[in-house]
Symmetry: C2
Subunit: 329 residues, 2 copies
């Protein structure tokens, strides 16, 4: 492996000065076309890449962004992260990964490290849709929040539109002719649970239907199974269930099937999250709401670009979600 070429090697090979070489390579218009060509060829030949350290020393952008995640479990944060990385990586941005493990001391440490490295911006990925403390104040670089929004409405946040998602789910069930629709979901301490319940209630009202029973519990398959017993016992008229997550839905259909209910003939079931390993492998495969997390991450990254360019878009942006129809409805 040979020494890495610098711009003066290029200039020398092309027979021009360093300054001219720089201008040629950066598309400045103070250099003759023919000279530029020579420089570009020399650069190609030496496979020259400018040293980012020297570049950023000049005070220009570092073309580096920080990706700060708090998602110890990884189910939601990671697709967002990959979507963001995708959007950045396609350009010439580099992504510095920091996993704070939900520890605010670590988070502070990472923020200082990122600032010391002069990142152009930071994207903060939450582990739930609950809002989190803002880190943007006095930071000096733009910040975008993905999945978990900032508690400061002046910040830029992107969250999946759970209200719309649950409306879509209920509408789908209503279209199929279901009239008595229960909702089984997770802990009410989660914003996601509250919003999904709220959206479901609103959609039922829109359709002129009575609000169905709502069962709050855990985000687990176990709770889905327990809830199945409760739901079937509580009201035999129920012909559809909207579940707050695919885990709950998977548990529900399993237990309901064991009790002799046919899915979807007797009871139609809609899940949430489109967690492939559960939704597609369940029996029957689950109709569910896909929160499009990669798109969300990618969008957040694009808006961070914009913010770096000074075109910030404050507020909490609700990103569209998608109904994925499988065999449970």
């Amino acid at each position: 492996m040979q020494r890495i070429a610098t711009i003066s090697d290029v200039a020398h090979l092309a027979g021009v000065s360093v300054a001219t070489a720089s201008k040629a390579l950066n598309g400045k218009d103070q250099v003759r076309a023919e000279t530029r060509q020579r420089v570009l060829e020399a650069a190609e030949q030496l496979s020259f890449k400018p040293n980012p350290a020297a570049r950023s020393l000049l005070g220009g952008p570092t073309r580096t962004v920080g990706l700060l995640t708090s998602d110890s479990v990884g189910r939601f944060g990671i697709p967002v992260m990959l979507g963001a990385e995708d959007a950045f990586g396609a350009g010439e941005m580099a992504v510095l990964l920091c996993d704070a493990r939900g520890d605010s001391i670590r988070e502070q440490h990472y923020i200082r490290t990122l600032l010391a490295r002069r990142v152009d911006g930071i994207i903060v990925v939450g582990e739930s849709t609950d809002s989190r403390p803002s880190i943007s104040r006095d930071l000096g670089v733009p910040v975008v929040y993905a999945y978990g929004p900032s508690d400061d409405p002046g910040d830029v946040s992107f969250v999946p539109d759970d209200l719309e998602g649950s409306r879509t789910a209920i509408k789908h069930l209503v279209t199929l002719g279901r009239r008595r629709i229960a909702h089984v979901t997770g802990l009410a301490t989660y914003q996601a649970a509250r919003e999904r319940a709220e959206g479901a209630a609103a959609a039922l009202a829109d359709a002129g239907l009575e609000p169905g029973p709502v069962f709050w519990g855990q985000w687990s398959q176990r709770w889905g199974r327990q809830a199945a017993a409760m739901v079937l016992h509580a009201d035999p008229e129920i012909d559809a269930v909207f579940c707050g997550s695919d885990q709950i839905a998977a548990g529900f259909v399993e237990a309901a099937r064991e009790r002799g209910r046919r899915i979807p003939e007797d009871i139609a079931v809609v899940g949430y999250d489109n967690w492939e390993v559960l939704a597609a492998e369940s029996r029957p495969p689950l109709t569910t709401i896909d929160p499009n997390l990669e798109v969300l991450g990618r969008t957040a990254a694009q808006h961070l670009f914009a913010a770096i360019d000074g075109r910030a878009t404050p507020g909490v942006h609700r990103m569209p979600v998608q109904l994925v129809i499988r065999d449970s409805t």
Copy 2:
């Protein structure tokens, strides 16, 4: 937000020259203890952090490593990645994240980008334990492979010890008194499937038992269910099944239960991977082999450190895995 402090600010505040300040901060022994103290206090007061760009411009290390993943699905690569990030982040290393999406063109592009940024080393995270083409040749920086080993035995690779893992699983079943043990696993094109089958066969031989039937299929719950029918039909004497993944095991126990078999009384089941959402939520919860992916990632990162220091440890290192006992055995 105030201007970021430079070392000359620190030097000025401490009443010394820039050179002395640098030496004091970096623990060089050419500075009086009292002077050093003054400098350190000044640095603290200004919350000075050295500019990494300026530092690496000198040709020293950039304290940056690349993390190159090809794991589009994320099940295995991501814990490894987080483990690695953990080991790096605890020090003062920064991690540049690159997700090549299994595309070798993208991979090449990222490698060039990482080299241009003068990373001190690269860690390559595979998406399966199958070996992958080496990228180390003529790269100029050390590379460590995690999960998916390099095809060049001169490289440094870390993989979970599937041979030992499957031996452990079988030994566990034998200890419980099971004598007729089937193996249901994924596609034989996967190294993981082959090694797990091999380890299982060896352990059976060690225990003086006949080799049990082996069923090759997919890595899916569906295949686990199908296999249950085949296993139960093929040999009613079978009293235990070792599955090549938790997905398969989850499908197997579900289907076996439906056919009236009690787990673990009639048939004991061991899974593989300790994928919490499946293994812990299955009925009954699955005994399984945990490949300790975060530890693997952390270890790989530590060895990358060593390699950067010139103390490389070539070869494919098999990392210990762990038996997690739940209710299916």
